[in-house]
Symmetry: C2
Subunit: 104 residues, 2 copies
Amino acid sequence: MNQIDIFKALSNETRLEILKWLKEPEKHFDKPSAHLSKNMNEKGGVCVGDIVEKAGLSQSTISQYLTMLQKAGLLESERHGQWTYYRRNETIIKELWNSLKEEL
Amino acid sequence: MNQIDIFKALSNETRLEILKWLKEPEKHFDKPSAHLSKNMNEKGGVCVGDIVEKAGLSQSTISQYLTMLQKAGLLESERHGQWTYYRRNETIIKELWNSLKEEL
DNA sequence: TATGTTAATCGGGTTTTTTCGATATGTCAA
DNA sequence: TTGACATATCGAAAAAACCCGATTAACATA
């Protein structure tokens, strides 16, 4: 858990938004994808395309942003067929919160 | 309190360090400046020169970093004679914690 | 008032970030 | 196996961040 990498990831409007959207996916991504398994739905993953549409940036940019958020540890991903679903890594986010409370 | 500006300010090793140093100034800045009023000492302000020395970067860079941290709201400054003392703005930092706990 | 000291600002070379379009990879379905 | 679709990766132009030395501004004091 590198704090600098986390802050870098969060210091971009779009990436910060993505993290917040994924806190309540059902609220921000109306259409429940048909290809989404019930299990996946419970875990709250959202596929890249839906995030691209919502963010209004290019597919390549969003894909890179998601990778960056994942490398920072804030997101985790799971591939199902041709779709990759991203969801928050709540464990790391809680850890971040604790370390900030202590150190910051 | 702009979260993006705060994250940008924190996404640099030196600036993050400065903020942490200022959490316990007496621990990280040994020499209590003679020119430091008792009142100032209680509030824990540290002058720019001491931070420059500790950080090992140029005076201009540190001055700019401090300004940036201040603009983000994380630090506050007070000028006494030819010295400017910087200290943490604990109110804002607490606000930041709360907003992160809620929104992030 | 002239000098020295502290801190802020300016201008700029270098590196990193941002964001894109094009292309590659992986997967499903006919 | 071919075509269509989702996502990842590549290469690059533009913008921003990094960090410096030089200069300016503000202040103290002799």
